[in-house]
């Protein structure tokens, strides 16, 4: 049913339809509304049987999910940013143990400096963990992806995180067509564990593995993720046939067939990009957008196919590797490995800085003039940076950079003796 609803609420109600048996989470902006809504449903009895555990930290949240999943229960949690880092050990543990936990990652920047707004640095921090990572373009897709996520996770015994841009999507009120219980029940059968703690058939789960077998265990996990490359589009296709909606899949090309310049991105910025591309197309420019939905496993082949005819590829990404460059870009570069195509990285939206159509148009202008540098930072205030560098050069005790920059902007009041 189509409802005007907050993204978080749409996700919560869809997760509830998936009949999770154990939900455990620790509050962190901007995930709070999701967990609050699920908790309310459990307390009111509308989501049952389900145990809702108010845990004391994110580390506990993922740990509770691990225990529950190993006992054969469908387990769900949600977090962001700092919370994800706090549970990092358990995140790797869950993937290594092959437990089909589903987690909503409400993407948020990682500090310091502390920042509660959206970017993709949190997802990038765990990209090597063995979790499947799916990025939602809209709240509609965010809701739909959770159903596909449980199905995928349980089939392959791989945990799945659904990445949803914090605030931009989670706190936006938009029209979302929510699924019916009967649809979800038909799409998502009860969880049949591959391994389970059962007093009738005792097993030991989580033993130490030494050099003699560790590589093989890791490789098996890699192969399972490569299996996911097949299953993700198949599940998305099944979802499409049942619902009529194009949610999920590996990549989503938009007007790329004859494009000379293709912009690649993930998440909510794709919507803004599509509007931008339409405007440029009206002006006769051959430009398109490629959305990457499955970031892990990384769909190298699908990406290569989509980009191979482009003259220039501009990756707009909300994360970067300090001291190196783009993150998504490097995966794209490896997938492409074609010298004729120019690859450009634009780092944008860090710490929640808005990505405006105006700025995107400037990027496309530079791209079409072949004036886009290999790595740029969208809307970066170079003067402010230069001033801070000058301060640091002038005196050893230059103080915390973050504060200096904020004071420069007038956000923080002047020092008393200034």
């Amino acid at each position: 049913m189509l409802r005007q609803i907050e993204g978080s609420r749409a996700i919560a109600e869809t997760v509830a339809l998936c009949r999770p048996e154990v939900v455990c989470a620790y509050p962190i902006s901007p995930q709070t509304h999701i967990i609050e809504a699920v908790g309310e449903m459990v307390k009111a009895g509308t989501l049952a049987p389900c145990e809702f555990i108010n845990v004391e930290s994110e580390f506990a949240a993922m740990s509770v999910a691990i225990g529950a999943s190993a006992t054969g229960a469908r387990a769900y949690t949600a977090t962001s940013s700092q919370g994800l880092l706090f549970m990092m050990e358990a995140v790797y543990n869950a993937a290594g143990l092959g437990l089909p936990i589903v987690m909503t990652l409400a993407n948020r920047a990682i500090g310091a400096p502390i920042n509660i707004w959206n970017d993709h640095s949190d997802a990038m921090a765990v990209r090597d963990s063995g979790w499947i990572q799916l990025f939602a373009e809209s709240n509609q897709e965010a809701a739909d992806l959770h159903v596909q996520a449980f199905r995928l996770a349980e089939e392959l015994s791989i945990p799945v995180m659904v990445c949803v841009d914090g605030f931009i999507l989670t706190h936006a009120v938009e029209g979302v067509d929510l699924l019916e219980q009967s649809f979800v029940d038909a799409f998502l059968p009860p969880y049949e564990p591959r391994q389970v703690l059962d007093t009738n058939a005792p097993v030991s789960i989580g033993a130490m593995v030494g050099p003699e077998a560790f590589e093989e265990v890791r490789y098996l996990a890699h192969l399972r993720q490569l299996d996911a490359l097949e299953r993700i589009p198949e599940i998305a296709q099944e979802f499409f046939e049942a619902s009529g909606r194009d949610s999920g899949g590996l990549v989503r090309p938009y007007r790329t067939d004859d494009a000379e310049v293709i912009v690649v991105a993930m998440g909510s910025v794709l919507g803004t990009l599509k509007d931008t591309v339409d405007l440029r197309r009206d002006l006769g420019e051959r430009v398109g957008v490629l959305g990457v939905t499955s970031f892990r496993p990384f769909p190298s082949e699908a990406i290569r196919d989509a980009l191979k005819h482009a003259r220039q590829v501009v990756v707009i990404e909300k994360a970067f590797s300090i001291g190196a460059g783009g993150v998504l870009s490097s995966d794209i570069a490896i997938a492409m490995h074609r010298e004729e195509t120019l690859l450009r990285t634009v780092v944008a939206g860090l710490g929640g800085r808005a990505i405006t159509r105006r700025s995107l148009e400037k990027v496309l202008d530079d791209a079409s003039d072949n004036e886009l540098a290999p790595l740029t930072f969208l809307d970066l205030d170079h003067d402010a940076v230069d001033r801070e560098r000058a301060r640091m050069q002038a005196t050893r005790r230059s103080g915390p950079s973050a504060e200096n920059l904020l004071r420069d902007r007038g956000t923080v009041s002047q020092k008393a003796d200034a």
Partner: protein
């Protein structure tokens, strides 16, 4: 159950006595059909107190629950020596996740069982002192606070033994460890630190808290079975000497555990809802030296330049415990004189 003292004067201990008891009063370990939850073939050191404690505790839990328990184990000696790839010595369902999250993982297992309406399977979480009082502390407190239906057992050998005998918040003052070496003006672990986990557990007002040692099998088994009568968060703190880490003889593990109790350094008691309900009195009190001198981790307190001042401080800790818990009863005072 009323406990009956069987004094076996020839041996000087209470270790032998099952043959003089009725069948139903014998220990689980005396039963041929005991589970052997942790079976032989594990790789523990000779004389390992933790291997003993785990077997005692889990077999008792299995009997108390008719064989229906799931064990969650933290990283540590027990986990490592019980599951050397590709073998496992566990005969029960067993899950190891991480070092600091055993209480939370156990919460998850209990929640799953409840969600599935499985009422007869109970959850036992176990960890060493490191995984309980240090890195596991946050999760433990959370589990206690929520009153999750988990029996948490801490096997306390007073240090991080698996990684090479480093100090934990359970390491007693003056003890030598790799990170509190016996050098300088204040050799060994610092005074005035440490956590009293049993009392912290009691402060959470959980249904049942008890301490025990591997020296008194009947007592330990009874406490496990008592714990299983409750639902909610329960905590059992078991002193398990470590010959390697403590520098003691591998055949003296049980003896040393008994001396820990008899000196007053390790009070043995039970508490319910935050209040001490019963105490295991000291039978024949010993001065702390009797206990300390058997362990090379305290060797620097003896020898040609003994640290009588340090020993005196340790003695006063024992005295304080005896006072606080009433460990020396008037009857036993009569007996020992």
């Amino acid at each position: 159950m009323t406990s009956q003292d069987v004094h076996f004067y020839q041996v000087g201990s209470f270790a032998v006595g099952n043959r003089l008891l009725e069948q139903e009063e014998r220990t689980v370990q005396a039963q041929v059909d005991r589970t052997n939850s942790i079976d032989s073939g594990h790789r523990a050191c000779q004389g390992c107190g933790e291997a003993l404690g785990a077997r005692y505790a889990l077999d008792a839990a299995m009997r108390a629950t008719n064989g229906q328990i799931v064990a969650v184990n933290a990283t540590g000696c027990l986990e490592v020596f019980s599951t050397p790839y590709p073998e496992t010595s566990w005969r029960i369902p067993w899950l190891h996740s991480l070092f600091g999250n055993a209480p939370a993982v156990a919460t998850g297992v209990a929640a799953a069982l409840r969600a599935k309406g499985i009422e007869d399977v109970r959850v036992v979480a176990q960890a060493g002192d490191g995984g309980t009082v240090d890195i596991g502390f946050g999760c433990l407190s959370g589990m206690f606070e929520r009153n999750d239906d988990v029996l948490f057992i801490c096997y306390d050998n007073e240090g991080y033994m698996n990684t090479g005998v480093q100090r934990s918040a359970a390491t007693p003052p003056a003890a030598r460890t790799a990170t509190t070496k016996a050098v300088g003006a204040e050799p060994g672990n610092t005074f005035g630190q440490g956590k009293d986990l049993p009392r912290i557990a009691m402060a959470h007002n959980i249904p049942y808290v008890a301490t025990a040692t591997v020296a008194d099998l009947h007592d330990l088994e009874r406490k496990v079975e008592r714990a299983m009568e409750f639902h909610g968060a329960r905590y059992l703190h078991v002193l398990v000497p470590c010959p390697l880490g403590w520098g003691s003889a591998s055949n003296e593990t049980i003896h040393i555990a008994r001396l820990a109790k008899e000196s007053g350094l390790f009070p043995v008691f039970e508490a319910e809802d935050g209040v001490v309900r019963s105490v295991s009195p000291i039978r024949r009190r010993v001065p702390v030296e009797e206990y300390l001198k058997l362990q090379r981790r305290f060797a620097h307190l003896f020898g040609p330049h003994p640290r009588l001042d340090v020993i005196a401080r340790i003695q006063s800790m024992a005295d304080a415990n005896i006072e606080r818990y009433g460990l020396v009863s008037p009857e036993s005072l009569e007996e020992s004189s």
